[in-house]
């Protein structure tokens, strides 16, 4: 099963090119690499995939229905390759949706869950596992080994892409940060955390093909919706709404540029 190791290559670059900006790090080459490799080899995210599979086929919710009739863009219940082609425009909602937005649409329409309730529980914590995170992990994993193939044909897909690009470069809040501030150069870190350069095709592809991912710091599987929410939190902006158009637009902009790269999820990150 393919696995992604976030940023090992990027880190090596720091030591080689910059000669080890941090003296303590320079002494022993790649002191973080051993741990990263060991964690990547056995990814607890697989446990979320298994759980998501069970949840997907179970009859659940007020309408006691499974998600087998959910259309992720390839037809009802067709999961293979669906994640590879998201976000995309859906006629029934007249909106561009990423995997998580689409899943929530189905959980509301088919299973009778309330959107507001799902928004409150979608991101799990140490006391409560989230069903949405497990389902996203499972559905996304059905595109493993396939290439990203996000469409750009409906006008709203063009709009989302361009809005995503605009927002990526939009500097805001008390830190004056935009996505570009931290993700526009090679070999950069916030403290020891690698920052992939999302203006570099290869690095961008490594990122978009490795989310959702298991995060050691969270002891949880997390989705791109979570990742972007936390980015905005660190930028000191207010709480980003769950399934906001902002996150769908940024994901459209990034995933489309990822086209051609092979998906291997869940990834595993620090």
């Amino acid at each position: 099963m393919p696995r992604k190791v976030g940023g090992i290559a990027a880190f090596a670059l720091v030591c080689l090119v910059a000669g080890g900006v941090t003296p303590a790090l320079a002494q022993s080459g790649d002191p973080l690499g051993v741990g990263r490799k060991m964690l990547a080899e056995d990814n607890p995210g697989e446990l979320w995939v298994e759980r998501g599979k069970t949840l997907f086929y179970q009859k659940r919710g007020p309408k006691n229905a499974s998600l087998e009739r959910c259309d992720f863009g390839m037809g009802p219940g067709q999961l293979a390759g669906a994640y590879a082609a998201l976000p995309r425009y859906f006629q029934d909602t007249d909106a561009v949706q990423d995997l998580e937005s689409r899943l929530v649409t189905c959980m509301v329409a088919l299973q009778g869950y309330k959107r507001g309730d799902l928004a409150k529980t979608a991101m799990g914590n140490l006391d409560r596992m989230s069903d949405v995170e497990a389902l996203v992990a499972f559905i996304a994993s059905r595109s493993n080994g396939m290439k990203m193939n996000v469409p750009l044909s409906h006008q709203k897909e063009y709009d989302a892409y361009k809005a995503g690009e605009y927002i990526f470069y939009r500097r805001n809040g008390p830190t004056d940060f935009g996505c570009i501030t931290c993700h526009g150069e090679n070999g950069k870190r916030i403290r020891l955390q690698d920052l992939p350069n999302m203006t570099d095709r290869k690095q961008l592809q490594d990122v978009v093909t490795s989310w959702p991912a298991y995060l050691g710091t969270q002891s949880n599987l997390r989705t791109m919706q979570w990742r972007l929410k936390i980015c905005y939190w660190q930028m000191r902006l207010p709480d980003l709404a769950y399934l906001s158009d902002i996150s769908v637009a940024i994901t459209s902009y990034l995933n489309y540029q990822g086209n051609g790269a092979v998906i291997g999820v869940p990834g595993v990150k620090r």
Binding site: N172, P238, S244
Partner: protein, 214 residues
């Protein structure tokens, strides 16, 4: 009907687009309109005190060019002018505070974040966020590299009034020196108080500070 943008050298793509019903990339003004509406709607229920964090000030607008396009001379001048005008100094007039207080601030990356509509509790005020991006004490390994290393900063420059002033101003509003630099305008945004910045200046300049020890 939206204005059609034909990508340079891709007439065949343009043909496909026309066949698909003229869907195409929106122009700049339309993009801005769509994206700004997303930004406006993306943080519902924001307490009024935080709403201004979403809206951009004039300098941020100038500094948000898609694809990192170059600033015009006028734009650069505007950003510098706005930055200069925003700088305030400690009431005491002292630009060099206590380096030991500054050390704590420099390695504190917290403060001012919002979760569930509430501001993060910060006992000692906001951190100065320095170590997120800079080497300071060369012995400390858990530091970032978005900004240049500041190890030896004071040892190289001395502790003159002029050095203290430039250092203070570059922390207060770095855009007065480098328009649209990555570094936050820590004083102008209200993230740090003038006295806090003076402590950080001391941490960078004081000969006793670990920044200036080998």
């Amino acid at each position: 009907m939206r204005k059609m943008i034909v990508l340079a050298g891709s007439t065949s793509l343009a043909a496909v687009l026309i066949a698909a019903g003229c869907a195409s990339f929106p122009d700049e003004a339309t993009t801005r309109q769509i994206a700004e509406k997303m930004m406006h709607d993306g943080f519902p229920g924001v307490p009024p005190a935080f709403a201004k964090r979403v809206a951009q000030d004039r300098s941020q607008q100038i500094c948000s060019k898609t694809g990192n396009a170059k600033l015009t001379q006028q734009e650069s001048a505007d950003v510098v002018k706005l930055a200069r005008a925003s700088i305030r100094y400690p009431a005491s007039g002292k630009l060099i505070g206590d380096w030991k207080v500054g050390a704590k601030l420099a390695y504190n990356g917290s403060g001012s974040r919002i979760r569930g509509g509430k501001l993060e509790k910060a006992k000692a005020g906001n951190g100065a966020l320095c170590s997120n991006c800079h080497v300071l004490n060369p012995k400390e390994f858990n530091v970032g590299n978005l900004g240049p290393s500041l190890a030896g900063y004071g040892a190289q420059r001395g502790q003159s009034e002029a050095v203290a002033r430039v250092t203070y101003e570059r922390i207060y509003n770095t855009w007065a020196y480098v328009p649209c630099a990555n570094m936050p305008r820590l004083g102008s945004s209200g993230h740090l108080a003038p006295e806090q910045i003076a402590h950080v200046v001391a941490y960078l300049l004081d000969p006793q500070s670990p920044v200036n020890k080998r």
